[in-house]
Subunit: 73 residues, 2 copies
């Protein structure tokens, strides 16, 4: 894949904390492992399933766009 | 993963056509196979790498949020 001048930040931690949820709380709500919640928040996940994105949007009551930020690199 | 009341639509075709790009053109721009462009447009991809999302946003000059739509199911 050619060089890209932008990077995508995944803002799960920001939206989770805005909701007053702990990582454990979000993991339970989403039926996901705590390990995976932490990996998403630490930028260690290389990709995201559309179903997982839908699950986050549903539980965090947000739009998909709120979870992503395009930053120049 | 528990039932989710929403689904995420990936609006690559809409943004590509708004830019007047063919599937072949977008594939070339992104350094991606035509097959994969078609799979993203037909909803046959189950997940998306953050790098691929960055590449689409860069080449289509859009925000990540424009590529996704949350729909109730």
């Amino acid at each position: 894949m050619p060089e890209t001048d932008v990077k995508i930040m995944f803002k799960l931690k920001e939206l989770r904390t805005n909701k007053g949820l702990s990582q454990e709380g979000l993991a339970r709500l989403c039926g996901m492992s705590l390990t995976n919640v932490r990996k998403y928040e630490q930028g260690k996940m290389k990709s995201i399933p559309f179903d997982t994105l839908a699950n986050f949007c549903s539980k965090l009551e947000c739009q998909p766009g709120e979870l992503f930020e395009k930053v120049a690199i």
